[in-house]
């Protein structure tokens, strides 16, 4: 993995977030407090603005910097979760290297584990994890099977979408929507939607 790729990914993420303002804002208005778009935009913009600083760094150092910066920029529930993801992914890459798809997949999965630990949530609780967990699992197994990046990217894009859509029928048991009970049904989780969008945007770069 190259730091350039990370920066391209950041720009692609910013584009998709900005392009989906209405969707993200509406979703968080329906079952949250309406700030998810603003939070994600603030995070994405901050990372893109770090270009000069990032390009001088190794991939894992860049990811760690991004995590730290997001931690002090996003706030809300998504801030510490996404920050934990990047910091843990960085740590794993640093420990095991980043010179193969299986290593990158393992680092991605470690990042998702960090989100699970920080938020104490799991699959089926109507959060971003309903996208991230299946994507991480599939990423690891496809990479282990030696599939090429393009195929993996296209598979993950579909899995992310399926995961995102699955949140529609769930009752939330974590996060701000946890109080809604039945009323949350019929609404897609905003964090699941933004994660799906980000995964899609990054996979298109592959």
């Amino acid at each position: 993995m190259k730091t350039d790729f990370i920066f391209d990914a950041a720009q692609a993420i910013q584009r998709t977030i900005l392009a989906n303002e209405h969707t993200l804002e509406s979703l968080d208005r329906e079952i949250g407090d309406g700030d998810h778009y603003i939070n994600m935009k603030r995070g994405a913009t901050t990372v893109v603005d770090m270009q000069a600083e990032l390009v001088t760094l190794s991939p894992e150092a860049a990811l760690n910097k991004i995590g730290l910066k997001l931690l002090s920029t996003i706030g809300g529930a998504s801030g510490p979760l996404l920050a934990s993801f990047f910091m843990c992914m960085s740590k794993t890459l640093k420990e095991h290297g980043d010179d193969s798809l299986p290593k990158i997949a393992a680092a991605f999965a470690a990042g998702v584990q960090a989100i699970i630990q920080r938020g104490k949530a799991n699959l089926g609780e109507k959060t971003m994890l309903d996208v991230l967990i299946p994507v991480a699992t599939q990423f690891e197994s496809l990479a282990a099977l030696g599939h090429d990046a393009k195929l993996i990217a296209s598979a993950l894009t579909k899995t992310a979408e399926t995961g995102m859509l699955s949140t529609q029928d769930l009752i939330a048991t974590k996060g701000r929507a946890a109080g809604l009970g039945e009323r949350a049904i019929g609404h897609i989780d905003p964090g699941a939607k933004s994660c799906q969008l980000m995964i899609e945007a990054v996979c298109q770069l592959v």
Partner: protein
């Protein structure tokens, strides 16, 4: 959206600056990261720090001062603050007896404060407030939100800390006050987050949201607007049921009744709600011996109100009554 603003992105810093200027005798503002501290650093006490998304003013910065908070960390509107704010605030106010974090129970706040706590180079503890009894179908605290009762927790813990009590004692009192406090809110209109530019939820002219959260989160149910007395009766019932669930006796106890406006509800209506609530609680054998009526934990420009009952004991009463001098709460000094 009709608001007094310049650029949406500047609203927080401009408002904080105005607050710090208006109360320059009491508070000092640090920008980037954003936090506010007492003007005169307190010594030899547990430092009490709270914080949360902005838009609930006077919570929390309005409660900085003698007898209450040492520092507050304001996040963006309705977005919890970030750990760096808490870290720097703690470094500024730490006074050799540890740090007590008072955090409203929202996933975002909990996680950000938790990360700060893990990084803090000082002994620390956290009190999670979760007084909102609107949410019924959930395990005890997951999804139970911290709302206006947080003010009572901050007042009592702040008072105890002022006596030189240690961190464990402060945390214990905070937890006790939280357990003995229940709140529920009602919205007549939505609030509008400035950056979003339009109402968080749609509520038509003839409906209300029972059990609304202070960020405009949906509550127990959407229902038809009714007489104030009927609305209050439902709130009182929810609060009493909550204490019953928690196995806390309410009959023959003394209590503090807080009727809190969400930002756009006139005092005239708040006192009308108070009138009915006080009567109903009294009918249930509760003695209302302390009162607070006004905008203490708001939700931007939401029209609506919450009712909070805090069951007093001698310790809580003593700490509620003790002198306090902050921008938003002041007595006996």
């Amino acid at each position: 959206m009709k608001k007094f603003i310049n650029k949406v992105d500047d609203i927080l810093v401009e408002s904080l600056s105005g607050f710090a200027t208006a109360h320059a005798d009491l508070v000092a503002l640090n920008l980037n990261p954003n936090f506010l501290t007492r003007k005169n650093k307190a010594h030899n006490k547990v430092a009490i720090i709270s914080g949360g998304g902005s838009g609930h003013e006077p919570l929390h910065a309005g409660y900085i001062g003698v007898g209450m908070l040492d520092a507050a960390c304001p996040g963006h509107v309705f977005t919890s603050p970030t750990p760096d704010q808490m870290l720097e605030a703690a470094t500024a106010v730490h006074a050799d007896k540890g740090i007590l974090l008072i955090v409203k129970n929202y996933a975002g706040d909990v996680m950000n404060f938790e990360m700060a706590a893990e990084m803090l180079p000082f002994e620390n503890a956290t009190v999670l407030t979760s007084d909102d009894c609107a949410v019924i179908n959930s395990t005890y605290t997951t999804g139970r939100r911290g709302v206006a009762g947080t003010v009572i927790v901050e007042k009592c813990v702040g008072s105890l800390a002022e006596t030189g009590a240690d961190l464990a004692a402060c945390k214990a009192l905070g937890d006790k006050v939280n357990t003995r406090t229940a709140s529920i809110g009602v919205a007549l209109t939505s609030c509008t987050v400035p950056a979003a530019g339009r109402p968080t939820f749609d509520l038509n002219e003839t409906d209300l949201e029972m059990g609304v959260g202070i960020h405009g989160e949906p509550g127990r149910r959407r229902e038809a607007l009714r007489e104030a007395d009927a609305i209050v009766a439902d709130c009182v019932e929810a609060i009493l049921a909550d204490f019953q669930t928690k196995n806390i006796a309410t009959s023959q106890t003394e209590a503090l009744l807080l009727v809190n406006g969400f930002g756009a509800t006139p005092l005239m209506e708040l006192y009308l709600l108070y009138n009915t609530a006080a009567q109903l609680f009294t009918q249930h054998g509760i003695q209302i011996v302390r009162s607070l009526v006004g905008n203490y934990t708001t939700a931007l420009d939401m029209a609506g109100a919450s009712i909070t009952l805090c069951l007093l004991d001698d310790e809580i009463k003593q700490h509620w009554d003790s002198p306090v001098h902050t921008p938003a709460l002041r007595w006996k000094m």
